[in-house]
Symmetry: C2
Subunit: 367 residues, 2 copies
């Protein structure tokens, strides 16, 4: 078997983890192969704070074999060389005199210089980058590279980009099965939803996760609410305030909140400029709260400013088979700011899916 | 073989014709089958003004067999019963004492009551509608049903429906291969292109047909030009005025044109209301000129008003992987008129095609 084939096996192993259990860590799988090419140890990272993949694979091997000095370790991510919640994996590799390490993706964290440490210890290192590994760990990579959550943006439009009519009515653009997919695939997979008080109030949006006919799950809601409108008495019975036991509402404002808030409500105080909050400060706060991946479901203005601020990594665009010709109907990406053809935002097409008569198009943005 | 199978053979035969040779007639194929199930005659409509499919099939059969009285005629369209450019086919069928006629689609022209005439003459008639036949003849059906050309609308937009930036620059939204498809598939198949003087002037559009790298073909251009701006001296060297030997430019205006126009230029005088021409009158004129199928490539305003006036039958929407967030960038369907969610225009999704990173979505509209 080739290095890529062993690494692909380690990749499949890494996917056994649940993304929410390992946050903010990446998926990592490792296998130990002896000089005959036999797999003698397997491991993957299962839970944040617990053993890394290398540790689990080495432990698994040592149940059977005591001398690993003629083994090769295949690991999907560059081994860590620093003390985090667990000791450095490079030390364990060196201690066990493993002769060769094959690495499937590089760690974006500059604190991790595993390759250098291993080579300095005389261990042969082969780097064999597999695209599927980088793709699986895009959340982790973006968190480190941009010091912010990975943002997915979902919007549902007519064929000419309208998300609502001029009276802001948006019910419904996309069909039942598209909305089901948003709940069961998108909202289910993220750590929180980001929206605005305007959208929450206008749509009386619940922003929970409906799974199948019956089951409802909670979802953390981060709501841009400069003036703390959601704390006004008149908004107290909005759907967003459903009973929460394991999620919270975070109101992003530049006001100082006085008085006691219920347990499930928190205020994130951030400076605003021209009506828009400071995304860098918000992002730092969200990363600290372990919100690694966030779904944006908002109006045309927040959508557009997040694009402009290079905050969006993927777009899930549901195009419904309908048309609103009204100039004043609301566009999905909408700022009163000059953007000329030569300076248009360029996306990368990922895939299209037909859902009844809606067309879901997925795009990626790279910075 | 079943009736549907014989009719499908006749349908395949009908498709041998070139649509432009038979305008304004439909594709029609016919086969004659004897009592043993053997095909003894075949024919299809090849050229407007020449023999109908039934005539050709009967003629073909009679080269071999003189008595057709035990034969069944399978014909993709209800036989005509009136004198057009050729005598009624029903008479020929009756004369030849054909015992049974199987019909694959009904003629939308109320002058054609072939079924009644045949039954009155004691001929057994079976009607077996095949969807592929109706689809192939959608131009003919629309021409008769709505007394107008079939209109295809092509537009290329960003993912939020913009066809140009606020300065009206539209070069380029879609990619090379999408534009190639527009020339080689769409423009090549229609009788004329419909646009506005504004688009022609702003884009200095040629509106011809480029096939491959070298070959250029002419295309009739129908241009809404209320004020005859294109006749102004300053516009005399626009690309639209390329040398024409077999096509014309038609300017649609409410002005009376005085003075002599070049051979390849014609004025269609039509009343206008609120800046929009009377589509019924324009359509009557275009049908008279044998323009059966027309491609609309225009700005957001003409696109939107044609949708509003129920003039568009199909939309070819090219969605490019790009985004312009500017509110003032131009939307593909754009009228300053109220249209609420409950009253949105509903389309039917036909198919999606990926062209490099553009997504082409085809929609149908039914009235």
């Amino acid at each position: 078997m080739t290095s890529a084939e062993y690494l692909h096996m380690a990749f499949l192993l890494s996917k056994k983890a649940n993304s929410k259990d390992i946050r903010p860590n990446p998926f990592v799988g490792a296998i130990l192969v002896d000089q005959n090419g036999s797999i003698i140890g397997e491991g993957y990272h299962q839970k944040a704070g617990e053993g890394h993949a290398e540790v689990n694979a080495i432990r698994n091997a040592k149940e059977k074999v005591s001398d690993l000095s003629s083994c090769t370790l295949y690991v999907t991510l560059e081994p860590c060389s620093h003390f985090g919640k667990t000791p450095p994996c490079t030390s364990l590799i060196i201690e066990n005199k493993i002769s060769k390490v094959v690495i499937g993706s590089m760690d974006p964290n500059p604190l991790v210089s595993g390759v250098n440490v291993l080579e300095a210890a005389g261990i042969e290192v082969e780097i064999c980058i597999l695209p599927e590994i980088n793709e699986l760990n895009s959340v982790f990579t973006i968190n480190h590279k941009y010091k912010r959550p990975k943002y997915l943006l979902k919007t549902a439009t007519t064929i000419n980009g309208k998300i609502a009519d001029r009276n802001a009515s948006s019910k419904w653009i996309s069909n039942n099965n598209s909305r089901k997919l948003v709940h069961e695939k998108l909202r289910s997979s993220v750590d929180a939803i980001l929206t605005t008080a305007k959208t929450v109030i206008k749509d009386n949006a619940t922003m929970n996760i409906r799974v199948g006919q019956e089951k409802v799950e909670e979802l953390n809601a981060i709501i841009i609410d400069k003036n703390l409108d959601l704390l006004k008495q008149e908004n107290a019975s909005l759907n967003i305030f459903y009973p929460r036991t394991k999620s919270k509402i975070y109101l992003v404002t530049d006001k100082i909140q006085e008085g006691v808030l219920p347990d499930n409500l928190e205020v994130i105080q951030i400076p605003f400029t021209n009506g828009a909050c400071d995304m860098d400060q918000l992002n730092a706060d969200l990363i600290k709260k372990n919100f690694c991946e966030i779904l944006v479901e908002a109006g045309g203005k927040l959508n557009a400013s997040m694009i402009k601020e290079k905050q969006i990594d993927e777009i899930y665009l549901f195009i419904a088979p309908s048309l609103i010709i009204d100039t004043h109907a609301i566009n999905a990406f909408n700022l009163d700011e000059l953007q000329l053809m030569d300076n248009k935002t360029v996306l990368k097409l990922i895939e299209t899916t037909i859902i009844d008569e809606d067309v879901l198009i997925r795009y990626q943005l790279s910075y």
